[in-house]
Symmetry: C2
Subunit: 282 residues, 2 copies
């Protein structure tokens, strides 16, 4: 998906927010904003939004020396999600149509950061989000492909959401699952460390994609991962960043996300904040 | 009030929105965003937020040749406000404490653009906003000063809000009122034209401040206006832009606004969206 003009002020705001997570020094914050403006001026040189977002987040590393600006946020989200795990398991058990609701749970996980931010009662907030149905759901097609699949690849997104993905994997048939994550800390995305800390090692093989952008930019992934991607019988791509990086990709690929951005909602032809499980097309 | 780092992504978003009001040409929109980024890189060279906002809005004039990007928006808001005028008059008649509610009506006018945008039922939306009381209200002090005042200067803000200001003027004692407006079209701010079209000519002397920024930057005003400003017995400064330009000014000056921006709310020590009628200090 191409970078829209709306991405630019949004990413600038994200840069400012991230700068405040790592430093109280106004001069450093100013420098980060100034460098971000310079990078945004050259936005056409970037492949897509995750590529541009990485460029901006690198400034924070360079100026403050902080390798993982979202470390505290990630630990907070991980703790909250791990506490919710038994509740999520109970939720799935109660539903009619386990696979639909397991997918819905994994998509709801895409919202955990916002839930924690907005509401002290995280459980209630998640409960409300869980109850919302998909506005697009290619479940029948997915089930057909799942019947003949001998392996699945899931592309992870945010930390905390990873725990919700464990629920999904536990609801899948007993075939090998590989879980791909970012190669380095970027925004609140999960790396190998956070994937393990979410218990995903118990239900899948965790691998690094080799890409350190907040979206799986296939050209940048390591050879092993690219082979994995092309040999996977089924791929579930989680979240907006992976969608932005892979939206033009076809094959046995399904996008599972909450459309939290108006541009992405528009691209998917859904309303803002809709939940989507959509086949990429063949 | 100094420019905050939060102003920067906000103004970039405003530039993009304004670019879309005047052109559907994506290349022109891109050029506007790129020029805005260049200006924002030099944000420290600007006095305050209205100064910076003017710099950005000038790009739109330069690139598209459109002198008044908000023309349609202003006509829409003016029509809506003029239709509300009899209702506002009735509202004031019903209240206990005419001056308080006339001030509150003028402050509520600061919200007319948002009201129209959010709700088809503008009257109901305005009614709800009218009912909210001020969180800061230096009315007693204002009344004391009003007793001995022989003239009042009001610094206007948005188009449409101007109609609400007419209600305020009608509730003031019978002393001469001067109403100061921007010297040129800038954002949705009122100029002499819109002030007359709001009926303000019937209740006040309308003058241009001589300043074309979306806030009264005193150093830039014409000599006549600066004299008027210093000789005024009482000044009511409407809206955020005038507050940003005049926040350090002391004297017989009262700020009347809705704190629609988190930075301004913070500066005024109130909650976001609070209504404020505050003495500048002597």
């Amino acid at each position: 998906m191409e970078i829209t003009l709306d991405c630019i002020p949004c990413m600038l705001k994200q840069a400012l927010e991230a700068s405040r997570m790592v430093t109280n020094d106004i001069e450093q914050q100013e420098k980060i904003v100034e460098e971000a403006l310079s990078i945004l001026l050259a936005f056409k040189a970037y492949r897509n939004a995750p590529d541009l977002a990485r460029g901006i987040q690198r400034i924070i590393k360079d100026i403050t020396g902080t390798e993982d600006a979202y470390y505290d946020i990630k630990r907070r989200d991980l703790d909250a999600a791990n506490k919710l795990y038994p509740f999520l398991q109970e939720f799935i058990k109660k539903q009619d149509g386990e696979l639909y609701w397991a997918l819905k749970t994994a998509a709801t996980g895409n919202n955990i950061d916002a839930a924690i931010y907005q509401d002290i009662d995280v459980k209630r907030c998640v409960e409300q989000e869980l109850d919302k149905e998909f506005s697009v759901c290619d479940l029948t097609l997915f089930k057909d492909k799942l019947k003949v699949a001998s392996n699945i690849l899931i592309l992870g997104d945010n930390t905390g959401e990873t725990v919700f993905d464990k629920i999904l994997i536990e609801s899948l048939p007993d075939i090998p699952v590989t879980y791909g994550v970012r190669s380095e800390p970027i925004l609140n995305d999960a790396t190998i460390q956070e994937a393990y800390d979410s218990g995903l090692g118990e239900v899948s093989r965790i691998v690094s994609t080799g890409c350190n952008a907040p979206g799986t930019i296939l050209e940048e992934c390591n050879k092993e991962f690219i082979t994995l991607f092309h040999q996977a019988d089924l791929i579930i791509s989680k979240g907006q960043g992976n969608f932005e990086a892979l939206s033009e990709q076809k094959g046995n690929l399904f996008f599972l996300l909450k459309a939290k951005c108006p541009m992405i909602a528009n691209k998917l032809n859904v309303e803002l904040n809709d939940y989507v499980f959509k086949y990429s097309g063949s």
